[in-house]
Structure formats: C-alpha cells, structure tokens
C-alpha cells in the first residue's frame, strides 16, 4: 500500500498555492491580457470563485467516500472500467500539464537567461531536481514548499512594492477591458488556473481528514487568488494593456524596470529565484500526482521505477514541442480552456453517478 505520510494545513496550503501561482511567471498573464485586456486582475477572482464551486464538488465527493482518494472513488462510484478510464484521463492530463509547463519554463528561461544553452541541457538539469524531489515523496515536497514559501513571498512583495514607482493608476481604465461578456466567459473558462486544487483529492489520505481538506482547499484558492490578482494588478498598473499583451514573462520585465538610481537597479535575479523554485514545486507535484494515479490504476506498490520512467517521459515530451508559440497558443490554451473539465467536471460526474447508484457513505452525502 502506498503511504504518503501526514501533512499539516500549512504545508498543504503552501504546496497547492505555489503549484497554482507559478503560472504568474510564465506566459499566462500575457495571454490573459490579450483576451480580456486590463480586466485581467479581477477576471482571475471570478475564475477563483468558479474554482471554489468546483472544489465544492470535489469536497462533497471526498465527504461521500471518507478515507478514500480520487482514484479509489472513481472505481467505487463508476465501477472498475469507467473508474480506470477517469483515472487514466486525469493521469494523462497531469502528465501533459507537467511536460507542457516544463517546456514553457525552458523556453521562457532560454529567452531571458540562457539563450545559448540547448533545451536538453536546461530541461535535463530541471528534470534531475524533479526526480530527486519526487523520490523524497509528498511529505518532503510539502515541507520544502512551506520552507520556500516565505522567502518567495517576501521576494514577490519586494518586487511588487519596488515597482510602485512605475505604476500608473490610469492603466486600469477602461475598467471593463474587452467587455463584460468576454470577462465573464473567460473568468469561467479559465477557472482551470486554480485546477491544482485537485491535488487535495489525489493525495486525500495524506491530509488528515475531510475537515482539514475543506479548510486547505478554501485557504489555498483564496490565497492563490489574492497573489495572482495582486500580481496581475501590478502588471496592469505598470504596462498598458497594449504593451502587456505583447510581453513574455511580465514579472521579469517589470523587475527590469525597477531603477532607483545607479546603486539600486537590476534586481531581476530576485524574480529568477521565485520563478525557478515555484516552477520546480509546481512541476514536481503535478508529475508526482501522475505517478501516484498511475501506480493506483495498475496496483503498483513501488513508485520508484515509475518515477524514473515518468521523468524520462516528461523529459522527452517536453523536448519534442515544435516552438514556443505552439506551447503558448496551442498547448496552454488547450489546458486553460478545457482543464476545468478534467479538474472539476470529472469529480462532478462521479458525484452524480455515486448519488444515482447510491454509492459511498450516504450519511455524509
């Protein structure tokens, strides 16, 4: 039986929050501005609200099947065959997300930091870290997240505060961006930004009971929404919408503009630190989710060989992308628009089927 240890609320919250907010450092904000304009900072709050509803489905499902994780619940609710299919979809999606995020990381990193290093070198080094962290397991990952969270948050606050000199409050106008209907539809579609909340269901047994999972879920989504919204607002105040929709890596670009005279400028390395650590935690936990689901699907007790095989697969998959535009405009767009189906609709369908088939603990239903 696969054991993942026991995690406290803080560890869980930071693990999930970092997994969610790492997108801020990639192309996510740029594409968001391209769609909704300068309304991005409150669209994400709408997305968080929708994700919170999605989390309610996950919570109700976990409550109906106490002491079970999502893979087991799929099997119990839908039967072995459909449970296997649902678990397979979730596992493959997690693999797709982790490899796409890794590919995006390497490409954006190449643009700004290591333009001459080949992808195999950047991804190779990163994948070694993913492998080591995965081997250490969920408990170590969560503790590392909690440890890294405070300096990361401090760094982010420092960058946002120092950028205040470049803020132009008038950039928030026109207040509705590209229009209310676009704002609402995008807010709903992009709730997948907070989809990593499903990790609470994947590792449900490690979070010490449904009461704690509920608290961890609410705090994680709320905290992530706060950080993402504050970051997007900072980008909006720094760059007008027509500039923000062009730039790749807005945090980095924003930090580059910080200039308080010859002795206080060039503080982009702070953003690098935050970016790399958050990407490492995010990619590892998503990859590790894939490993766990895969092991449960095929009743494999030893994760180690799967981790080794898994990192080899994401290494290869993240290398075979065509170019950065394919990653941003095809893969990530696909993930953002359809991710909610995997993260929130699958649990909802499972919940409905469980209710119809009268599966699970009906006292908790």
């Amino acid at each position: 039986m696969i054991e993942e240890g026991k995690l406290g609320v803080q560890e869980a919250v930071w693990l999930i929050t970092i997994a969610i907010i790492s997108k801020v450092f990639f192309s996510g904000p740029t594409t968001m501005v391209a769609i909704v304009g300068n309304a991005d900072w409150y669209v994400t709050i709408l997305s968080a609200a929708i994700a919170m509803i999605g989390f309610v489905f996950i919570y109700l499902l976990l409550k109906r099947f106490p002491e079970k994780d999502i893979t087991e619940i799929f099997n119990l609710s839908l039967g072995r065959f459909f449970g296997f299919i649902f678990s397979g979809i979730l596992a493959l999606y997690m693999l797709f997300v982790s490899s796409t995020r890794l590919a995006e990381f390497s490409e954006v990193f190449k643009v700004y930091i290591l333009p001459l290093s080949p992808n195999w070198y950047i991804i190779g080094f990163f994948i070694v870290s993913v492998f080591v962290l995965s081997r250490l397991g969920l408990e170590s990952m969560a503790r590392f997240s909690k440890l890294a969270a405070y300096p990361m948050l401090t760094g982010l606050i420092v960058v946002l505060a120092l950028s205040a000199r470049n803020y132009n409050i008038k950039n928030i106008y026109p207040i509705l961006g590209h229009g209310l209907s676009k704002t609402i539809t995008t807010g709903i579609m992009r709730s997948s930004i907070y989809g990593e909340i499903i990790i609470l269901a994947i590792f449900a047994k490690a979070f010490q009971g449904i009461k704690y999972i509920r608290r961890e879920g609410i705090i994680s989504i709320g905290l992530s929404a706060l950080i993402i919204s504050a970051s997007l607002l900072a980008f909006t105040l720094t760059f007008p919408y027509y500039i923000a929709q062009e730039l790749l890596g807005l945090v980095y670009q924003m930090a580059e503009l910080i200039d308080y005279g010859p002795f206080f400028q060039r503080i982009e390395p702070i953003t690098l630190f935050i970016w790399i650590i958050s990407a490492l935690i995010s990619i590892t936990i998503i990859f590790y989710s894939f490993v766990l689901i895969f092991c449960k699907m095929f009743k494999i007790q030893d994760k180690k060989p799967i981790i080794l095989g898994g990192v080899t697969i994401i290494y290869a998959v993240s290398l075979i992308h065509k170019d950065i535009t394919t990653i941003i405009f095809r893969n990530i767009d696909f993930m953002r628009n359809l991710g909610s189906i995997v993260f929130f609709i699958l649990p909802l369908l499972t919940l409905i089927v469980a209710a119809i088939r009268k599966k699970g603990d009906r006292q908790n239903a």
Binding site: V128, P262, Q265
Partner: protein
Amino acid sequence: MRKVVAAFILIILMLNLTSCYDAIEINNMLHVVAIGVDRGVSDKWRLTLQFPTIKGSGGGSQSSGGGGQEEYTHVTIDAPSFFAGINMLNASLPRRLTFMHAQIIVFSEELAKSGLIDEYITSIHRFREIRQSAHMLIVKGKADEFLKENEPFIGNLVAKSFQMLINESNNTGFFPRVTLEDFYSGLKSSYRQPIATLTAINDFKSFQKEGEPWETGFKTGGDYIAGKLPRIGKNKIELFGTALFDGGTMVGELSGDETRYMLMVRDEFERGFFTMKDPKEQEMIIALDVRGPTKPKIKVTLDDTVPVIHLKMHLNADILAIQSGVNYEHPKLKVLLEKEFQQIIKNGIEKVVRKCQNLNTDVFMFGDHAIKNFLTIDDLENYNWNSHFEDAKVTVEVKVAIRRTGTQIDGQLARDTERDE
C-alpha cells in the same frame, strides 16, 4: 552501491555547476554603452556603437589621481538591420558585443523625421539584451558624430556620467527623462504620443565672446533648444528640450521652458529654478525655486463632439532672488508675485498645448484621463483619442503658493548714495 551512485551523480552535477553552459568570460565581451542610429548610405541603417577600449583591464595602468580615465571608442557600420549590423561588426571586433549595459539609444533627427524610427524601435525592443530602462534621445545632427563627442566629462565612465546627466532632468525640468519602454508605449498607444529627450553637440557658436553688453532685455534661460545654449567649456554634449512625435514620426520640438510646462502637466516636473520679470520693476528679475508637489487635476469630458479638458494645477515655490529689493516677502506683495507667476505658467501651458494641438500630438497624457470616459477597450480604440486631441478645448487653472523666502524675510537693496537721496 547507492552511495557510489549518489556520489557519482553529485560529481557530475558539480562539474556542470562550475559555470553556465553558455558562459562567456567577461574579458571576451565588449560592453556597448551607447547605440547611435542614422539613416545609412550603403544600406538602410547606419549603426554606431560606443564601448570602452578596456586597455586598462590588465591592471596597474592607472593615472596618479587614482581610477584612471576609461578610454572609449566607437565603430560605425551601414547595415540592413540592427542585428545584421551587430554580426557584421563582429567580423572586425575581437570580442563579442553585448548590450546589457547599453544606457543610451540615440536616433538622428533626420531619421526621426523620416518616420522610420518605429521600424527600428520595435526590433530592438524585442531584443533581450537591451534593457527597457535605456534612455531614448533624438540628436540634432548625426548620431555617429554625437557618439564621437560622448566622453566622460566629469568622472571616468560614460554610462555613469550620462546617467547623472539624465538625472538632472529632475532638478531642472529642461528635458524629459524618457526610457525605451516609455517611448515604445507611446508608439503603440491610441491615446498618447511618444516623446524623446532632445540632445545635440554644442559647437559653442551661440556664445558671443565679444559684443555690446546685455542691457535690460529679458530671457528666462529656458527658451533654447539643445545645441544652442550660449556657453563654452569642455563638454560639447547637452540635453535640452523635447522631441515631439506623431506615431513614429518626429513632428516638432519643445524648448526648455516648453518642456517644463509639458512635464508639469504630465506630473513629471519635480523642480526647477524659474526667472520672471519683477512685476513692479520690469527691468529687474525675480528667481523662484519651483516644485510641483501636488498631482495636477485633469478632467476630460467627451459629452459634445469636441473633447473638453480642464486642467487644474498647484505649484509651490520659494523665492531665490529679488533684484529690485521690493519687499515681496510681505503678504500683500507676495500675493501680487504669486498672481503674476500664476499667469506666466498659465500662459506658458496654454501656448505649449496649442502648439502640440497644431502638431496633433498629445504629449501631455490627457488621453490617460480621457480613457476614464470609456467602459471598454473597443470603445476607446474606436474613438481614437489621438485624432481628436487637436480639436479639444483646453482650460487651464494654475495656483501658485510662495512658501518660503530663502534665508531672508525682508530683503533690502544695497545702499547707494544716489538712490538714498
């Protein structure tokens, strides 16, 4: 066995961590400090790069003053693009050019007026090595000539020297401080236009060594443009005034005084010494230290077919000098002085706004206030503020408060027998 494998992996990792895969030794790089762009003759663009010769990098060869003067040189090439030019230049330079420390980007006035500047800017804005905080300048004359004259006048380093010169914008207001990011943002906007710092080589011809002494005429000291200041000295380079753009085309320029008024409206004016005629004794002058501590209040309404802009501004000033000895420190006379100065600023702003309206270039960022009238970006872009600015009705209201009177509260004229009688 595990420990052996772990040790082996660690050793491999450590070997890789000794330096980046694509590391370049600092000695193998040539740090460009300034980029100059003119219209080319043999090809579309004439690219000039200025960089240190790093002759003293071997150590030891320093002047007796400590920290010897860094030597700079420059290269110029005609090329089809900025990036082609870099590669072409690297055929004759024994080090790799890097632009991470490039602080100055200078375009010639001719190029700016030809409307080609946006072609060039959009490509260098994309280039990761050039920082968005680099300063944008338009030079009257040739950019390559400008870079030849761009040498550290005080201190050792061009970049630092120039940075400090640019910072003087905050202290004088005679020229704006414009970064690549600011300029690019203006180029892409539908509701503001770009500006750039105006610079030139002063040939010192404006300085008249001989002639009739100045009598009672009046000049503010700011009604010049770059290259025309009546001065002599070692440093030939000067920054003075503003280049105005309509999109990617330079359409005009503002003098030092006009630049101050523009910066006041943009809320970018920090401080400057102003000279005005004495209201009571017109042949005498009064000097004021003016600061702009409060944000100008700008309201733009679009109810009618023409936009209406109402500008309200509050300035603080200290008295620096009263040549006439009239007691303007006294509350009653202080009000007179304030009203007179208010009128000067009001007239100045109205004049410069009219000038820019005639050129159809909103460099005051009125558009930033106009956008509050729109709910969506599509509405804003359909309206196209830049095309409506020339028709706008602008009203200006200025308040000036003289807060302090320097180290004197009752200045008296020097005693003079004739005047005493």
